[in-house]
C-alpha cells in the first residue's frame, strides 16, 4: 500500500455569498494518477488554486508529506507551497513569455541551486559553475522530454501544443512530489492529445511523483486516471476507479442532466 501524500480535509472556499468549494475531502497517495472532473463551474480550478497556495481556503486543512512529515499547506503562500513539493500548470498557459524554453526551465530550478551575491555581480568562477550546473540540469529535462529543437527559442513564439509541453516540463523542474495539471489537453488535436497522454505517463513513471489533473477530455481521463474524483457544485459527488465513476448514477445525472433512466 502506497503512503498518503496529500490530504485535503473539509476544505471550503467562499467568494462573498457564493460557495465555490464546499467541504471537500480527498486523499492522494504516492505515485498515483488521479483525475478531477466535473462540469464547468464545479469549483475544480478554485480547488487547484487552494491546493497550490495561490488562494487561501476559507476553512479546512490541506497537508502534504514532505521529508516524512506532514506540512500544512493551507494558509501558506504559493512560494512556500511550491518549495514543499507541489507544482502545477495553468489552464491558460502561463509561461515566462520572452524568455527561452531553457531559461523557463532554469528559472523553475531556482530553489535547487545556491548563488553568492558577490559572485553574481562580478561573475567569479563560482558563478560559471552554478550556471553550468543549472544548464546541465535543464538540458537533461530538455533531452528527456524532446524539447531540443525549441530549447533556445522564446517561449511565446512556440506553437500552442508545444507551450503546454514546456509548461509541464517547467513544473517538473521544481522537483515536485505532486504535479497539478489544469486542463492539459485543452485546445489540442487528437494527435497532440495522444502524445500528451504518453508524456503524462512518462512523467509519472520516471519521476516517482503523483499527478492530479483536471480534464474535460473523457477519453484521456479514462485511459490515464487510476482514480477519479467528481466535483459538482463545489462538492465531491463521487470518487473511485474510472469504471466505478462512469457507472455511478449521480455522476451520469450531473453530466447528462435530467432523469437517470432517461440518460441510460
Amino acid at each position: 500500500m502506497a503512503e498518503k501524500l496529500l490530504t485535503v480535509r473539509n476544505v471550503t472556499r467562499q467568494f462573498g455569498g457564493l460557495t465555490a468549494v464546499n467541504d471537500v475531502s480527498m486523499t492522494i497517495y504516492d505515485n498515483e494518477l488521479v483525475a478531477l472532473i466535473g462540469p464547468n463551474g464545479a469549483g475544480k480550478t478554485t480547488l487547484f488554486n487552494m491546493l497550490s497556495g495561490l488562494l487561501p481556503a476559507t476553512s479546512g486543512t490541506i497537508a502534504i508529506r514532505h521529508d516524512g512529515r506532514f506540512y500544512k499547506v493551507s494558509g501558506k503562500g504559493a512560494t512556500s507551497v511550491a518549495q514543499h513539493g507541489i507544482s502545477r500548470t495553468f489552464q491558460n498557459i502561463r509561461l515566462f513569455g520572452d524568455m527561452t524554453v531553457r531559461e523557463n526551465i532554469m528559472a523553475a530550478l531556482n530553489n535547487q541551486f545556491k548563488e553568492n551575491f558577490w559572485s553574481t555581480i562580478f561573475h567569479t568562477p563560482g558563478y560559471y559553475r552554478t550556471e553550468r550546473e543549472m544548464n546541465d540540469e535543464a538540458q537533461k529535462l530538455i533531452d528527456r522530454y524532446h524539447l531540443t529543437a525549441v530549447a533556445d527559442s522564446p517561449a511565446n513564439k512556440l506553437p500552442y501544443g508545444m507551450q503546454r509541453r514546456v509548461e509541464i516540463v517547467r513544473a517538473l523542474a521544481t522537483n515536485p512530489k505532486i504535479i497539478f495539471l489544469d486542463e492539459p489537453a485543452a485546445g489540442m488535436n487528437p494527435e497532440e492529445t495522444a502524445e500528451l497522454t504518453k508524456m503524462i505517463r512518462q512523467l509519472r513513471d520516471e519521476n516517482n511523483l503523483a499527478v492530479l489533473l483536471i480534464e474535460h477530455d473523457m477519453s484521456l481521463v479514462m485511459s490515464l486516471a487510476e482514480r477519479i474524483y467528481v466535483l459538482d457544485q463545489g462538492e465531491v459527488l463521487a470518487s473511485g476507479t474510472p469504471k466505478e465513476v462512469s457507472q455511478n448514477p449521480a455522476v451520469v445525472k450531473a453530466y447528462l442532466g435530467g432523469d437517470i433512466n432517461a440518460a441510460g
Binding site: 512560494t79 507544482s87 553574481t120 558563478y127
Partner: protein, 322 residues
C-alpha cells in the same frame, strides 16, 4: 571557456579605448570644460538610467522615485565631504549613501512593491517627494537653499570608472540565477510564485539594487557640481531619467547607454536655441516614440559574448562541411 576570456578581453579593451579617447581629447584640448561637463553628466545619467532600467525594465516595477535615491547619495556626499574633504571621505560618503539608500529602499519597498502599475508609480513618487521634503526642512541639509561649496573630489575619470562598474554590475546581475528569477517574476508573477520563486524577495532585490546604484550617481553628481538643492531632485528629475530608459528601450542596458549619450548630446546642442529648446526636445521625443514605440533598442542587447559564440558556431559548421 575560450569565448569567456575573449569576451572579457574585448570589453576591457573597449572600456580602455573609451578612456583613452577622452584622455587624448583632454590632452589636445578638444575636450574643454564645457564638453567635459557634458561628458560627466552623460556618465552620471548612464548610471542613473541603467540602474532605473534594472527596476523598470528587468523587474517590471514602474518606479517614479529614482531622484529620491539619487538625493540620498548626493546629500550623503555633500554633507560628509564638507567636513572630510579627502578622497577617502568621498569613498566613505558613497558607501554611507548606499547604506542609507538600502535602508530607505527596504522601508519603501516592502509595502509598495505589492502594488502594481500606476499605483506603484504614485507610491514611489510619493516616497521620493518625502525624501525631497525632508532635505528641504532639515538643518543639516541647509533647507531649500541646499548645500554649496562641496569640495570637487570627483573628476571625469572617476565618473567613467563608476559608469563602467555600474554597467558591469547590472549586466552581470541580470544574466544570473537571480536575474532570471527577476525576469520570470516580471513575465508572470503568479506563475513564478507557483514555481517556488519568492516574488517579493526578488522584486525587492532589484529595487534595492537599482536604488543603491542611483545613490552612487547622486554622490558623483553632488561632488562634481559642488552644489545641490532639493529642487534638483524633484519629480522632473525622476521623469527625465525615466525618459532615457523608455527612449533607449525598457529592458535594454545598451539602449539606456545609447539614449543617455544621444539625449545628452541633443541637450547640449540645443542650448543655443534658448527657450525653443524644450519644444524641439519634446518634438524629437514624440517622433522617436512614434517611429519606434519600444525604444531605440527594444529589448535587444549588444553582446560580444553572443557574437563570438555565433562566429565560433559558424566556423565549426564551415569546418564540418569541408
Amino acid at each position: 571557456m575560450k569565448i569567456r576570456w575573449q569576451t572579457i578581453a574585448i570589453w576591457i579593451v573597449c572600456m580602455a579605448a573609451g578612456y583613452g579617447i577622452i584622455y587624448a581629447g583632454e590632452m589636445t584640448g578638444v575636450v574643454d570644460t564645457f564638453i567635459e561637463n557634458m561628458l560627466v553628466m552623460m556618465g552620471i545619467n548612464i548610471i542613473l538610467a541603467v540602474s532605473l532600467n534594472l527596476i523598470v525594465g528587468f523587474s517590471g516595477q514602474f518606479s517614479l522615485g529614482h531622484a529620491g535615491f539619487m538625493a540620498i547619495g548626493a546629500y550623503a556626499t555633500g554633507i560628509m565631504t564638507q567636513t572630510e574633504s579627502t578622497f577617502a571621505g568621498l569613498i566613505f560618503s558613497i558607501i554611507a549613501g548606499i547604506v542609507i539608500t538600502i535602508v530607505v529602499a527596504l522601508i519603501v519597498g516592502v509595502p509598495t512593491l505589492r502594488l502594481k502599475g500606476d499605483y506603484l508609480a504614485i507610491a514611489t513618487m510619493g516616497a521620493a517627494e518625502i525624501i525631497r521634503l525632508t532635505a528641504n526642512n532639515l538643518k543639516i541639509t541647509n533647507g531649500p537653499a541646499g548645500l554649496y561649496n562641496i569640495p570637487q573630489l570627483v573628476s571625469w575619470p572617476i565618473v567613467y570608472i563608476m559608469m563602467c562598474l555600474t554597467i558591469i554590475i547590472v549586466a552581470n546581475f541580470v544574466h544570473s540565477k537571480t536575474g532570471r528569477a527577476i525576469r520570470a517574476v516580471r513575465n508572470d508573477e503568479l506563475a513564478a510564485t507557483a514555481m517556488g520563486i519568492n516574488a517579493t524577495k526578488y522584486k525587492l532585490m532589484a529595487f534595492v539594487m537599482g536604488g543603491s546604484l542611483a545613490a552612487v550617481g547622486g554622490s558623483l553628481y553632488a561632488s562634481y557640481l559642488q552644489s545641490i538643492a532639493p529642487s534638483n531632485f524633484n519629480i522632473m528629475e525622476s521623469v527625465s531619467i525615466l525618459i532615457i530608459v523608455v527612449l533607449g528601450g525598457i529592458g535594454s542596458i545598451t539602449g539606456s547607454v545609447i539614449a543617455a549619450i544621444v539625449l545628452g548630446a541633443i541637450d547640449t546642442i540645443l542650448q543655443n536655441f534658448g527657450s525653443l529648446r524644450m519644444v524641439i526636445y519634446a518634438v524629437m521625443l514624440i517622433v522617436i516614440m512614434i517611429a519606434k514605440p519600444s525604444g531605440l533598442m527594444g529589448r535587444c542587447e549588444f553582446s560580444i559574448g553572443k557574437w563570438l559564440t555565433k562566429r565560433a558556431a559558424k566556423k565549426q559548421a564551415a569546418a564540418a562541411e569541408s
